[in-house]
């Protein structure tokens, strides 16, 4: 279907269902229950799941297919955000022109950065991309370019935002927040109360989710295309590639630019949900995060980056919110001394310590599941398949013996 094989089609359908039903799936606990804080089905977090999913899918097109590890992909995320906010400032709150511009501008930057960085491979490539991203972070944070023109391009450490003094030449009276072609505001949310549960359906989330599904579909097509085969060949053996008459440079650059445009789109969507753009979006920690997402989910797999992005964003938002009061509630069934002891033990892993939990999980995954969460899933599936296979065989073989 749609030019995909059977397995890929079912994968796209699974991702589509997961994305469309996420407000239900990620909200399994009743609102008033003690477990409600593990619910992730609120608009702000859902949006981040899919936006960072797009970011990771794009990153995987570069890293997973070609093996080139970019350590500066957050630069494109930031460029995308700035592009969208600038369109708010110049035109109006319609997100479409901004998103188009975000993809184009991040693509142009990717051509430039990729052309230079891809002159080297391995660790040198990673360092070059990191250097570019840090330069762009520094330039944005100090608003260096703006100073030359005696105006503000990135608005420095405050971050770029819309002011009433901005031109906004297309602005209508009713516009005050980002919207899609005037049809729907990104922040509008429908809340469905079903018994003890409360589900929110947010327009912005669904817009991002549909874009993520399209982005995922496109990435599957690229994986299965002759171009994707060439990229995998390049990861496997560049020497043979060259001595087969293939020019590796344009292949790598094309992958880098596509992946940069994905990142730009993700950055643009961040600013579409919340009309702000700050330099910290370009910082090296953000570049590192997408590397973690991709490796955690499974680099080079189709669905891995989406899972990795969801996993990390869940931890970042849910585990960081657990505090000692919550812990005391959990362990309140224990005798007092033991309760305090348990809280003392668990304390470093929650709240601000969520990085510690994530770090441990990351180590475990890399050591025991080098193929990421996807490999974990495959192993479990194989375990079940083997049980199914062996069970009937035994019954069949007994009479023959």
């Amino acid at each position: 279907m749609l030019g995909l094989g059977k397995r890929d089609t079912s994968l796209v359908i699974i991702v589509t269902l997961m994305a469309l039903l996420a407000p239900f799936i990620l909200n399994p606990f009743p609102t008033e229950s003690a477990m409600a804080q593990f619910n992730a089905g609120y608009p702000d977090l859902l949006q981040r799941f899919v936006i960072f999913g797009i970011f990771a899918i794009g990153f995987n097109l570069l890293f997973g297919l070609t093996g080139y590890l970019s350590f500066g992909h957050a630069a494109f995320l930031g460029i995308g955000s700035y592009a969208v906010v600038w369109m708010y400032k110049l035109l109006d709150y319609n997100i479409v022109p901004g998103l188009v511009l975000a993809i184009i501008v991040s693509g142009l930057f990717a051509v430039l950065i990729g052309y230079i960085s891809l002159r080297r491979s391995g660790i040198y490539f990673s360092i070059l991309t990191l250097a570019f991203a840090q330069m762009m972070f520094a330039i944005s944070y100090s608003d260096l370019i703006g100073r030359f023109f005696d105006t503000s391009i990135t608005n420095g450490e405050t971050g770029l935002q819309v002011y009433t003094s901005d031109p906004q030449i297309l602005l209508n009276d009713w516009e005050s927040v980002p919207h899609l072609l005037g049809l729907v505001e990104m922040r509008s949310t429908y809340i469905l109360d079903a018994g003890a549960w409360s589900f929110s359906f947010n327009a912005g989330y669904y817009f991002c989710a549909i874009i993520m599904i399209l982005a995922f579909y496109l990435s599957v097509r690229i994986f299965r295309s002759p171009f994707g085969l060439m990229l995998r060949a390049m990861k496997s053996n560049q020497q043979r590639m060259t001595y087969t008459g293939l020019n590796t440079k344009p292949y790598a650059l094309a992958a880098f630019v596509i992946s940069g445009m994905y990142a730009g789109l993700a950055g643009g969507l961040l600013a579409s949900m919340d009309p702000l753009a700050g330099a910290e979006r370009m910082q090296w920690t953000a570049s590192g995060e997408v590397v973690l997402m991709t490796i955690l989910g499974g680099a080079g797999t189709l669905i891995g980056p989406v899972l990795g992005a969801g996993f990390i964003k869940y931890f970042e938002n849910i585990f960081s919110k657990i505090n000692d009061t919550v812990l005391h509630q959990w362990f309140s069934f224990m005798p007092d001394g033991l309760e305090d002891a348990m809280v003392f033990i668990v304390h470093p892993f929650i709240g601000k310590g969520w990085h510690l939990t994530l770090g441990i999980l990351f180590m475990l995954v890399v050591i025991f599941l080098p193929g990421g969460l996807v490999e974990g899933g495959q192993r479990i599936a194989r375990l079940f398949a083997r049980r199914k296979d062996t069970a009937p065989k035994e019954t069949q073989s007994t009479p023959a013996e």
């Binding site: 299965r224 085969l229 990861k235 043979r240 001595y243 087969t244 008459g245 020019n247």
Partner: protein
């Protein structure tokens, strides 16, 4: 004039004269072996031919066109394919995918962006690749990871990948190095078969005299970066200078 003409090629690495005034003519549709003791400059010469190294002076032309200054992939596109000492294949890909890549490279050239159409739609390429694999007796392994194959089969695949591009000149760098006798003989048979079936020129660098004398029609002996003598295999066997420089060395 031969298909490959090397004229007065010099290459220095610091104080070492790796190649000194090398002249070599490889005739079209011949099997030409280049032998010589270790350090004679055989690999340097090969790297000059494929564009990996640029000589300090001299000229190298293939089919009347200079190869100097061209990148390795451009030289390959001119019709020169290279087989490496250790088989260079795409280890992470399946055998069939390995074979499809040179066929794509032949059809589409050095770069073409087929980013959204599916590989499974490229029936023509798949058919050609399957056909090549059948000729190489590798069809049963087509869905295996190529890294899991035996060294002999990796070599067969690599040679097959080079042939899939239908090159006019096939360069082999010690194709049987580190192989068991049976695999070596298989490789010799494969090369003989290729020679009989195709219009192709083969230049081979080899240490194993058994391989050289079973295949070569012409032999050039390199010693200390310069060609010592070039002749037919019969004459090379008894040549006193060669015995001294190379065969004598192994006998002693």
């Amino acid at each position: 004039m031969g298909i490959l003409e090397v004229r007065n090629v010099n290459k220095r690495f610091g104080g070492l004269q790796a190649l000194g005034d090398v002249n070599l003519t490889v005739e079209e549709n011949s099997v030409h072996a280049i032998i010589g003791p270790n350090g004679a400059g055989k690999s340097t010469l090969l790297n000059v031919l494929v564009g990996k190294l640029i000589p300090d002076t001299g000229s190298v032309s293939f089919d009347g066109q200079s190869v100097l200054g061209r990148k390795p992939f451009e030289i390959n596109q001119m019709g020169i394919s290279r087989v490496f000492q250790t088989p260079e294949i795409f280890g992470d890909l399946t055998v069939l995918e390995n074979m499809m890549i040179p066929i794509f490279a032949k059809r589409d050239g050095a770069f073409r962006m087929h980013a959204v159409n599916s590989i499974s739609g490229e029936q023509e390429i798949i058919d050609q690749a399957e056909h090549m694999l059948e000729n190489l007796n590798l069809a049963d392994a087509r869905h295996d990871h190529s890294a899991s194959m035996s060294r002999g089969n990796k070599r067969r695949l690599e040679i097959g990948m080079c042939l899939a591009q239908e090159p006019r000149l096939l360069l082999l760098d010690e194709p049987t190095a580190g192989m068991a006798r049976a695999d070596t003989n298989n490789t010799i048979d494969l090369l003989k078969q290729i020679k009989d079936e195709r219009d192709i020129t083969i230049a081979i660098i080899e240490h194993d005299m058994h391989v050289v004398f079973s295949l070569a029609e012409r032999i050039t002996v390199l010693a200390q970066g310069s060609p010592l003598v070039e002749d037919s295999p019969e004459n090379i066997k008894g040549h006193p200078k060669v015995r001294e420089a190379y065969l004598g060395e192994t006998a002693a």
